[in-house]
């Protein structure tokens, strides 16, 4: 009869005695399992967020300036070029949007011009496709050619097509002198898709906008037809306007909608270098946002959960070792005689140690199986409730809306991505940790046994 068989018989022939150990192991390893499930889910979400924005640096205005609309809302393209020319920048994206008026109609409607520096239109509008003509060339984007790809909705509304010239610009009817400036845009392509089709486009004529003190951010941008043009074109038309906006009382740059420039860096060293080289060189009010700052921000609820889970797991492991050690010690004291017999028969000490460990593992096997499922169930319930509370707290504390950043998930998205589930990683990690814990609990009892002398036990 080998050691494993002896251990097996010892467990199954004395179920009553082993029940207490089974109960305690189940209870404590369930808590461990729950904590581990939460940690794995948290780490997966964190890794996903880090992968998404890990080597990224974004450029955004300070929130106070945004809140008061004091200074321009978008970073001029010329300033951005100084930063993105750094060799550590692998790629970048940038996009600005602004509404201009169309000249060649009697109704003077507004058009939203969306900027891009990526010839692949699916980059910003993934569900769209070119249905006629072409997209931009790299040269057109780099040099700011006056070309645009219009939405099918706009093409149908204005009855224009590829090759047509469509001037855009400004017309202001001011209280003492009308002002207008126009620039010609050539239509090179037509794009269609849900992202370029506006929700509501009134069939009647757009009203003429009388710009006295009328912020264009009040315009319902979802109602305006849309076209796509190189960023530089939009940037230059805003910055280089001859309109004396101080007289008008309107800050044109304030009304630009900007996608946060996202710089994808070559390496983490490049990120560090970026901080040193350009950290203080951005024009006011812009600053760099580095990934680790952003990660901490969106991972708030998950971070709290992770901390609690880690603390519970460590605490539970320590308690489990302590309590199980006591129980096993008591069991073995009752079995001194049996152990003395093994000693008297000449059994090797290591086999006796192995038998004790195997007995604990056998008792724990069923306990751990139950804990895997119970722990997941508890983790789901607990973490869902805690995330809900954290999101409520974050909602209360929220300030002015952040300007759109395509790549940074919101807290709600992070919470939705958080999933507690039974995975191979979870099962293996939990089994390893739990076995380590219960095995560690045998150390003190085993040391006690090995000090026993068979002569004193048996005779």
């Amino acid at each position: 009869m080998n050691t494993l068989k002896r251990a097996w018989l010892s467990v199954i022939r004395k179920p009553g005695k082993n029940f207490l150990l089974f109960f305690i192991v189940t209870l404590l390893t369930t808590l461990m399992a729950a904590s581990l499930a939460i940690r794995i889910a948290s780490n997966n979400v964190t890794a996903e967020v880090q992968n998404r924005i890990g080597l990224q640096v974004s450029i955004a205005p300070e929130r106070t300036e945004l809140a008061y609309g004091v200074v321009g809302q978008h970073i001029p393209y010329s300033e951005l070029q100084k930063v993105v020319s750094y060799k550590g920048v692998k790629s970048y994206n940038y996009g600005i949007s602004y509404s201009f008026q169309a000249k060649e109609t009697t109704q003077f409607p507004m058009v939203v011009l969306e900027g891009t520096q990526n010839p692949d239109l699916k980059h910003y509008w993934p569900n769209s496709q070119i249905i006629e003509g072409r997209t931009f060339t790299e040269q057109e984007l780099a040099e700011g050619a006056h070309v645009m790809v219009i939405s099918k909705q706009m093409a149908d509304y204005y009855e224009i097509g590829v090759g047509d010239n469509f001037p855009l610009g400004r017309f202001y009817l001011m209280y003492f002198e009308p002002f207008s400036e126009w620039f010609d845009m050539e239509v090179i392509g037509i794009v269609d898709g849900p992202e370029v089709t506006r929700n509501y486009l009134p069939s009647q004529i757009f009203q003429l906008y009388m710009i006295y003190y009328y912020s264009e951010s009040h315009v319902g941008w979802e109602n305006l037809p849309m076209a796509i043009a190189p960023n530089i074109v939009i940037d230059q038309q805003i910055i280089n306007t001859k309109l004396n906006y101080r007289l008008v009382g309107v800050n044109l740059r304030q009304n630009v909608q900007m996608r946060i420039p996202i710089l994808q860096m070559e390496s983490f060293e490049a990120v560090t270098e970026m901080r040193k080289l350009f950290g203080k060189k951005l024009p006011m009010p812009f600053k760099f946002n580095f990934a680790d700052d952003q990660i901490l921000s969106v991972l708030g609820p998950i971070g709290t959960l992770n901390m609690i889970a880690e603390a519970v797991m460590v605490f539970t492991m320590v308690i489990a070792v302590f309590v199980c050690s006591l129980i096993i010690l008591l069991y073995l004291k009752e079995r001194r005689h049996e152990i003395g017999i093994y000693f008297a028969l000449g059994e090797k000490k290591r086999n006796i140690v192995l038998q004790v460990v195997l007995e604990v593992w056998i008792v724990s096997a069923l306990a751990l199986t139950l804990s895997v499922f119970a722990g997941t169930w508890i983790a789901k319930g607990f973490s869902a409730e805690l995330i809900r509370l954290q999101l409520l707290i974050a909602e209360v504390q929220k300030g002015k809306e952040d300007i759109p950043n395509d790549n940074i998930p919101t807290r709600e998205e992070v919470a939705a991505a958080y999933t507690v589930k039974i995975s191979n990683e979870y099962i293996w990690l939990f089994t390893g940790l739990a076995l380590l814990t219960v095995t560690a609990s045998t150390i003190v009892p085993i040391v006690n046994i090995l000090k026993l002398k068979p002569k004193e036990i048996l005779l």
Binding site: A344, L345, G346
Partner: protein, 225 residues
């Protein structure tokens, strides 16, 4: 053939602030195929002597040799595992196992590969049928348990069987049966059987009686061969 040689063995126990001599430089030889009885009054050192022979303890001075080799050099654990079988007064069987399983445990510890059928045969030779062998030991009589203990002591095919008051908990008739078994082991299986007893009746059945004196820790040997 000289199997076990006790040479000038000295052993003491602490006794308050002083030390009490239990075995005072004793020497004796044990041979295969003989039944030895160690007799003495309570506290004379019988059990102590048995523990030294069985390798459960080490002498303070002197040498115990098995087949010419010091058992300390062999290693007490290996000596017990391979060369000694022990029988105790209170049987010392594993209570939650059957008779067969108790024998299989000893076979497993010895490291020699045994089949269940061999264990059944061994038990059968001691007078334990298969039906009783498959029963939990707590459901057996004292005599049956002691037979199982003897079978267990034989499981590792030892050269030496030591027994500490093996009939102490048994009635007269059972006692005779058990002692008969020991004699059979000595004669038929060529074992060296050493029994510690306070019973003169048991002692008289031995080939050699070693009488221990409590006062001076020495032996008087009565050879009945």
């Amino acid at each position: 053939m000289k199997l076990l040689d006790i040479n000038d063995v000295f052993f003491t126990y602490p006794d308050g602030d002083s030390v009490r001599t239990i075995l005072d430089h004793v020497s004796v030889t044990f041979e295969k195929g003989h039944f030895y009885a160690i007799v003495g009054s309570s506290g004379s050192g019988k059990t102590t002597f048995l523990t030294l022979i069985a390798g459960l303890d080490s002498a303070k001075e002197g040498v115990i040799s098995f087949k010419g080799k010091d058992i300390a050099e062999i290693g007490l654990w290996e000596y017990r595992r391979n060369h000694v079988g022990m029988v105790f007064q209170s049987y010392n069987l594993i209570p939650y196992m059957t008779g067969l399983e108790n024998v299989l445990v000893a076979m497993g510890i010895s490291g020699k590969h045994h089949k269940r059928s061999e264990a059944y045969e061994l038990l059968e030779s001691i007078g334990i049928a298969k039906t009783k062998a498959d029963r939990n030991v707590r459901r057996l009589s004292g005599g049956e348990q002691q037979r199982i203990a003897i079978a267990r002591a034989m499981a590792n095919q030892p050269d030496i069987i030591v027994a500490d008051e093996p009939t102490g908990n048994l009635d007269g008739e059972t006692e005779d049966t058990i002692i008969g078994l020991f004699k059979q082991l000595a004669v038929e299986k060529d074992k060296c059987v050493i029994v510690v007893t306070h019973s003169e009746k048991v002692a008289k059945q031995a080939d050699v009686i070693l009488r221990l004196h409590a006062t001076n820790g020495t032996f008087v040997i009565e050879d009945n061969r």
